[in-house]
């Protein structure tokens, strides 16, 4: 019989560490939510790849469309940029939202959720916190697109206020949309499935929209689709805010859509989260 050599991990520091201590008052709902938001931001720092591919896509699309088609589509690249940039902003952020579903699914597959759910905290805190943290990520993505636009010569008529309002609008919509992916994240089995399915939904929605060109020259059936596509509404409103021509109706439509998505999918997500498996 050989004895396995063990390094003594157990010593007096362990005794101290295990000694009973008074339990602090429980973390409140806000504190727990913010802690989860902090976690999401930490993940962004440790796994920046999640952001890089989407930012890359945004840069390639913005540069590519501006310089390849801009002149042909709008007469000059600078005029086209005026049209494209709000769309580019919306598209980038909308594409980043898929990661909220992927992250939640990974938590579930790996068992981290088990620990969170056995903690005495406000039940939806892990999800709401993650989405708040994700909003930080959306903000970062928005900033990059706007800065890129400014570097390329984009000068929004709506001014700073218009740009800030457009970004805020895009973030609200993204927050609502994220709940769709968290629901999906709890229904599907693997993170990769969540990723593929959400992109499968988003690509037609972003392509068949008014992000790149005005729908006036398109066939009627496509125009009809574009008119009901929520992404088009988002782009129209963002374009309006950045160009200083937005109407309350355009902005209101987007806010209502974000509220509806949240109202439907947030309870669905929390229900699935609580009664998983």
């Amino acid at each position: 019989m050989t004895t396995t050599p063990t390094t003594p991990v157990v010593d007096q520091t362990l005794g101290t560490a295990l000694s009973a201590r008074a339990r602090p008052p429980r973390a409140g709902a806000l504190s727990a939510t913010l802690t989860f938001a902090w976690r999401a931001l930490l993940k962004l720092r440790h796994v920046p790849e999640q952001l890089i591919d989407v930012i890359g896509t945004a840069i390639i699309f913005t540069l590519g469309f501006t310089y390849l088609f801009g002149g042909a589509l709008a007469g000059s690249t600078s005029q086209y940029l005026e049209f494209l940039l709000p769309g580019s902003l919306a598209m980038t952020v909308v594409l980043v939202t898929t990661y909220s579903g992927v992250t939640l699914n990974a938590d579930h597959t790996k068992g981290v959720s088990d620990r969170f759910q056995s903690l005495p905290i406000w039940r939806p805190a892990p999800i709401v916190g993650a989405l708040l943290g994700d909003t930080g990520r959306y903000l970062l993505a928005s900033t990059i697109v706007v800065v890129l636009g400014l570097v390329l010569g984009y000068r929004p008529d709506g001014g700073v206020l218009g740009v800030v309002a457009a970004v805020a609008l895009v973030l609200s919509f993204a927050f609502g949309l994220s709940w769709v992916w968290t629901t999906l994240g709890l229904v599907l089995r693997a993170p990769s499935a969540v990723n593929s399915l959400s992109l499968l939904v988003l690509f037609p929605l972003t392509l068949a929209s008014n992000i790149f060109v005005d729908s006036a020259t398109m066939p009627g059936w496509l125009q009809a689709f574009i008119d009901v596509n929520p992404i088009s509404h988002l782009v129209t409103a963002a374009r309006g805010l950045m160009g200083g021509t937005a109407t309350a109706g355009q902005v209101g439509w987007v806010l209502a859509a974000a509220a509806t998505l949240t109202a439907v999918f947030a309870p669905l997500t929390t229900h699935l989260y609580r009664n998983q498996r």
Binding site: V10, L18, D107, G111, V112, D114, S118
Partner: protein, 326 residues
């Protein structure tokens, strides 16, 4: 204290089904406070499901479960405030560092910023993880990850700790370290409910063991009681000359007074022994008859043998089981 029962865990008639599969089938279980209680059984026996119900992660379909005097359904929040769970799969965030994981959980448990940091550092020191504190958990070895996982359950030392297969997949050295930790926890007065597939682990750590099979408790007792129900273990002998096997078989069964089985190896024989004293006599008998042995061993009863003794069939057979719907 708000609880009337002296038991740490009190389960009665617990049922949990997943679709067609009954994972837990009318289980009764009582766990006394301040002991290590083992749930022993093969993969898919329902151990994890029982733990998940007790940790308020799953709702039972029938029956009741009380943890530290609180009902796991009606008073789930009270239960969550008193227990901690280290799951079968890594229940730490692999993207974060060890330190960040502990600070995160400490904050979620209500510790203020500064105390959360102090506590994280204290636990990392105590668990031999101080040097790896600032590294992402993805870079940790299996043993380090397990220790971090257990440390994460001890930020506020719980009254009851659930450990789901704490050593599955660990190398022997890490396994010994986890055993040490469990013993230290037990010594500090924490009730530990652990699941395991290994009889020796249950034997080493647990004060009482419940054997689980197909979602039911098929035996319950101290490790000593359990093992005595199985006998002393299996005697394995290997002959130098396979020609002598039938002679050896006859001699062994006469002396041991149990059935002796030929193994697939043409030179090997095995027998379930009830009395270890007879083994010495039997070996002497073989030597006297000129039957030379190349090897012999008296094994501890294995989980398979416990199952064989308790159910009349080996563990994990009867293919209707599926892995605990983890």
């Amino acid at each position: 204290m708000a609880w009337h029962s002296a038991l740490a865990v009190e389960v009665s008639g617990l049922v949990k089904t997943f679709g067609e599969t009954t994972a837990v089938d009318r289980v009764d279980l009582a766990v006394a406070p301040a002991i290590v209680h083992g749930l022993l059984g093969p993969n898919g026996a329902g151990k994890t499901t029982i733990i998940r119900v007790l940790a308020t992660l799953l709702r039972p379909d029938a029956g009741t479960a009380r943890v530290l005097g609180h009902d796991v359904v009606a008073e789930a929040d009270a239960v969550r405030g008193r227990v901690a769970l280290t799951g079968q799969y890594a229940s730490v965030d692999e993207d974060l560092t060890g330190w960040e994981n502990l600070v995160l959980l400490a904050r979620l448990l209500g510790l203020p910023h500064r105390q959360a940091r102090t506590r994280a550092g204290e636990l990392l020191d105590a668990f031999g993880l101080a040097e790896a504190a600032r590294r992402q958990v993805t870079t940790y070895s299996g043993g380090m990850r397990r220790r971090l996982d257990i440390a994460a359950s001890l930020i506020l030392p719980p009254q009851l700790l659930f450990l789901d297969e704490p050593t599955t997949g660990l190398d022997p050295r890490s396994r010994a370290q986890v055993w040490e930790l469990v013993r230290a926890l037990a010594a500090s007065g924490t009730t530990v409910l652990l699941t395991t597939q290994y009889l020796d682990e249950a034997d080493q750590l647990a004060d009482r063991i419940a054997v689980i099979d197909h979602g039911r408790v098929i035996a319950e007792g101290t490790p000593g009681q359990l093992k005595s129900s199985v006998g002393a273990g299996a005697l394995q002998v290997r002959l130098i000359d396979p020609e002598q096997r039938s002679q050896a078989e006859r001699l062994l069964s006469q002396t041991l007074q149990v059935a002796v089985h030929p193994e697939a190896d043409p030179a090997a024989l095995s027998a379930q022994v009830t009395d270890p004293h007879r083994v010495a006599l039997a070996l002497a008998e073989l030597a006297r008859a000129g039957v030379a042995l190349s090897e012999f061993a008296l094994g501890q009863p294995s989980l398979d043998e416990v199952f064989l003794a308790l159910t009349g069939r080996p563990a994990g057979t009867d293919a209707t089981t599926r892995e605990d719907a983890a």
